[in-house]
Symmetry: C2
Subunit: 427 residues, 2 copies
């Protein structure tokens, strides 16, 4: 049996170090990433603490947690500058000294020799680990991480830069957590991703097909609702969870997007790739955000031709050929304009499909009939042109982001139906 849960629930603490996280200068993206990675491996984070670049604050946090938590992960403060004090603080809290690591030192000397830089004492400070600990290799930076383990418990110190932290966690930390019996080998949960249904109705719909001994949790973000199904100590295997996920998918029907973590744009790109078709966009209020959703997916260029971001009415006329009389009669925010934009951009870019968005994102604009939050979507395919009116609640940023997701989801549904008809009637 490929068990997807540890023998007993583990207590996991993440300690993020950095003034910038508390002064509103930067979001804590490490916690988001680590939270998901740890949960997938059966180690959901119990609690997270953010502290300043202050040795006594870090030592206090680690001192209170060591022996209480099964896994402690720290991020940041292990570099060569004077405000990096996590190494010293953690060693003090553990009641041990710091020892030099010959392997990291020689790797650092090699690296600096290649770029013609001399090694200073400050640089060598980062090549130390608490006595009894082990270094975690960091080929992408100068500061090695730290693994410290005792009596089945582990403390891990990761570097601040995300480009170093993420591969170090994947390559150096996960295998050690598995060897310790903390992290599971498969996925600890199966996630079913949906769009177009709220969390409460989704729960009512799928609860009957999920065995009571499994744990069901929900997460929502910009219209997407995720249902996570985990064994919750029931002894269910990864295969068991996948079987349940299939039942959930069938219960959800057309609102089902995918199993896993794929974004809406990558789903649409995959649909287009399998059809060997291309798409272009025409955007007004979303102003490049819809294009960005496609462009963020590596390899998008195979199906994504581009987007005409037309903020002004002149641009809608000149670039997309939307007739001036149409805008005069119906307005630039109308079902007619959305359809004309979709049709126009498909023609300009020479793409098989096109998607368009025009609306009032606020704070200004809107009419009595179409207040701020009113958005029209247009869709052009080889078989016709459609438009659709949606109403979005929220501020400017929320209206824009929600419009992007609804447009992508609409295209996903249209392409799904197209594929089904294909299968029924032959292509």
């Amino acid at each position: 049996m490929d068990s997807c849960h540890p023998a007993h629930p583990r207590e996991v603490l993440v300690i993020n170090v950095g003034d910038e996280l508390l002064d509103g200068l930067r979001g804590n993206s490490h916690l988001v990433w680590l939270g998901e990675q740890l949960a997938r491996r059966g180690l959901p984070v119990t609690r997270a603490v953010t502290v300043r670049d202050d040795a006594s604050a870090i030592a206090r946090e680690v001192g209170a947690a060591w022996g209480v938590y099964d896994v402690i992960v720290t991020t940041g403060g292990i570099g060569p500058t004077t405000d990096d004090c996590t190494r010293e603080a953690v060693a003090a809290a553990l009641g041990v000294g710091l020892t030099r690591t010959p392997h990291s030192e020689s790797a650092l000397r090699d690296r600096f020799q290649r770029i013609g830089r001399t090694v200073s004492d400050a640089d060598l400070r980062q090549c130390r680990v608490p006595v009894g600990g082990a270094e975690l290799r960091n080929p992408r930076g100068t500061a090695p991480g730290v693994w410290f383990s005792s009596e089945g418990r582990a403390l891990v110190m990761l570097p601040g830069p995300g480009l170093e932290l993420r591969p170090m966690f994947d390559e150096e930390v996960v295998p050690r957590l598995r060897d310790l019996g903390c992290a599971c080998r498969g996925e600890a949960y199966v996630q079913v991703r949906t769009y177009g249904i709220g969390a409460a109705p989704l729960e009512a719909l799928i609860r009957p097909v999920v065995p009571a001994e499994l744990t069901l949790t929900f997460g929502t973000h910009t219209g997407i609702v995720d249902a996570r199904i985990s064994s919750g100590g029931s002894g269910a295997t990864a295969d068991d969870l996948c079987c349940v996920a299939r039942l959930v998918r069938d219960a959800v029907g057309e609102d089902f997007i995918c199993t896993g973590h794929a974004c809406l744009a990558s789903i649409v790109i995959e649909q287009l790739r399998s059809l060997e078709k291309s798409v272009s966009l025409a955007e007004s209020c979303t102003g490049g955000l819809l294009a960005d959703a496609f462009a963020s997916v590596p390899g998008a260029s195979k199906v994504f031709a581009g987007s005409a971001v037309c903020y002004s009415n002149d641009a809608k006329m000149n670039l997309l050929g939307v007739p001036e009389s149409l805008i005069a009669q119906h307005g630039a925010v109308s079902a007619e304009a959305a359809a004309a934009m979709a049709f126009g951009t498909a023609e300009k870019f020479g793409s098989d499909y096109a998607l368009s968005v025009t609306g009032f994102a606020g704070p200004d604009g809107g009419t009595d009939a179409d207040p701020v939050g009113t958005v029209f979507l247009g869709y052009s395919s080889p078989t016709g042109v459609w438009s659709r009116r949606i109403s979005v609640v929220g501020d400017r940023a929320q209206v824009r982001r929600r419009s992007v997701n609804t447009a992508l989801d609409w295209m996903r549904r249209k392409l799904n139906r197209y594929r089904v008809e294909d299968l029924l009637h032959g292509s």
Copy 2:
């Protein structure tokens, strides 16, 4: 004297409640926003803790902190659903009961009557505050916040939705913190924003003009480096800080963007507005992200015509009129292509200025001479067309975001110089 610091440094704790923050489902945007708001008012956050929707975990956190911290702010868990347990947990930790608040109850009944919904007991649960506390009005939602104060210390409970949290903090919490003598009336620091200089050289440059008794801290994000100057207990007034900020600005020179928190796109929009000129964009690797930077600024439509996001070579030729022979000779990622794209989009959109970006964002693509991270920028103005090659380190997302900022900063510098020449020679 308008003092911009409290009598003694305050200890501030933020407790964010929510499973989704620990499971990697959502970033902690509340902490980013509150961190900045509190720091601006002289109350930098000392420490932040994130806990699950679990009454005993919340009570443990508040119980350990009450009496230790001057200000405690909780977010989330005060709504009507069964997993909302912050109210009960905090009251238990404070050792008091919960009492109903007639004002909130009648506001809730009014609200529900207007939308034709009946009021349940679960709905009324959220209209209670710990005995001795006061309700904070929430006209944008159903759950009132809580203010609890004793012996100069304050505990504040804010709702989870950002659209309710932010105005409640501004309108209801800040005035109360001021009355308590915790928050200062002016701004607690002056921020000087720069681009094009690293944090270390910036510090070396400005340290000589900043009096030693003031505190100087630095924050960096995607190429932007902020220097924050605060009184640090020196007794300096807001006016004193502004005088120092002017000296810093002069020392920084062309790398100075602004005093405050404005983004690069809003600076460029302001420059264009004062010149009464318009701009359009042509994007390849940034795929709509540059357009989004402009479109995110309210009122952008006055100067921002639009963007041609041209992912394919065909699109660059058809939409922007980039000659096929130019792409064949120099490639789509070249100084020549960038210049042709800028020129072409200015013509298509009929804008006075244009900015273009084409590059290798990775993970695939690139050549020996121009590896991944090589990006060409193009700039078209009424007086000519320029291009520029930059090298950006990082993954796909970082290359794209850094390219956007560097393009915006380039335009800012160009327009600044244009304005200076205007002033020297007359327009």
